[in-house]
Subunit: 221 residues, 2 copies
DNA sequence: GAGGGTCTGTAACTAAGTCACCGAGACCGT
DNA sequence: ACGGTCTCGGTGACTTAGTTACAGACCCTC
């Protein structure tokens, strides 16, 4: 292991009372899972509270007709609100969480989680903030799915997935699943974007050539 | 006031430790608001945790283009998860909460709320369960907006809004706002439903005449 | 009962999703 | 290298949903 302890990843945890902090450092389990693992899903309830140290978890939903939509991603340093909710509540969810990369996470057992919530104001703040972000985020997803044009949404998603890089590695089907749309629709939009010289498409790859143009489309939405 | 105390409405609260329970009964404020009041909205952060005693709060979102969608309703006996999130977290939301009927609610100040969370396992369970339900519910909304046919969604919503009654008091625009659709689309669908003899339409009223037919449409979705 | 506002109906059009099918490229084993 | 198979991308024809524009019906108030 490195000399830095995992708790360094979570600033809110630094403010915990000494005895709780010590307990956290010792009593918790670090889990590692390969890319593609199913972290949770319908009929697969989580048994502990998860804090993601490295990697990304993609949370998505599949309709009976087979169409998919990505709801959100959990990044390193975040907790999975859904897991938390199901840990404390009794509700079943129908979404599933997939490891998009190899992941490393801290699993806090239910009992310790409960104790942390009870004793630490900072930990409560941390958990509730995660909830708050998630719900706000879901509101935005609903607004986009309900009201935003598909070309704008696609441009937005391409810029998001590209990050600092020039290309997005994803099939048209993958992009359709991101947006809850259909493959043919994405193909058509990408063809149109390519015709305008904003990007180039190759098998499984979208190479962005005119980032400002895409950004302008998103802006003028 | 009636002889029954408001705490009777919330079974989870009955299990609180005596001293906390006593504090709850005395230190909290009961607020009453008329129909149509805006409980919260963009740039209007809540100052206390709300437990709804009577009435309904409609939580909705409006796009820049003016189209609206109803996200969920808070019923008597429930807490508003969003309010809670924003109370504990720091995130701003863009949704707004409207009193659909006159409402009576208990306002628990932030400090007492924090104390309740810290001391009572049952209260934590209550709050987290509310979160859990809400998130699960939002997932279903996303799935329906993204993948469900508008006729199915309308039939479903009509049955939901009608409850045990035979009629729904709502304009076509109101129904469009429920589903995040457009007024003309609703008019067309209602006309088609009426043609099939499933309902009758009058100004501001939809009278359901063949409930099983509507239910069948929803079922075969 | 005139005039204003609200609500509903409808036609023509655009955008998005569906269905069916085909062909190009990648992969794999022999 | 060859053929078989699979995934991925492209396309046309069609259906469904949302948009634009406008007109008429109803309702309320003065």
């Amino acid at each position: 292991m490195s000399s830095k302890h995992w708790t360094d990843t979570f600033p809110p945890l630094q403010k915990l009372p000494q005895e709780i902090f010590a307990q956290l450092r010792q009593a918790t389990l670090i889990v590692e899972l390969p890319e593609g693992s199913r972290i949770f899903g319908p009929g697969q309830a989580p048994e502990s509270f998860l804090l993601l140290l490295t990697g990304t978890i993609r949370v998505q939903q599949t309709s009976e007709s087979g169409r998919e939509i990505v709801l959100y991603r959990v990044q390193a340093g975040e907790s999975c609100a859904l897991t938390t909710a199901c840990l404390m509540g009794y509700e079943e969810y129908q979404a599933e969480g997939i490891a998009e990369t190899p992941i490393r996470a801290v699993a806090i057992p239910r009992a310790l989680f409960d104790q942390l919530i009870a004793t630490s104001r900072e930990f409560r703040q941390f958990v509730f903030t995660a909830f708050s972000r998630r719900i706000t985020n879901l509101f935005r997803v609903i607004e986009e799915v309900a009201f935003e044009r598909i070309d704008v949404r696609l441009a937005q998603k391409l810029l998001e997935l590209a990050g600092a890089k020039q290309q997005v590695v994803a099939t048209h089907q993958d992009l359709a699943n991101e947006l809850g749309s259909a493959r043919e629709v994405i193909t058509r939009q990408l063809t149109e974007f390519a015709r305008r010289g904003w990007l180039r498409v190759a098998r499984g790859i979208v190479e962005i050539t005119d980032r400002p143009a895409l950004a302008r489309l998103v802006q003028r939405s």
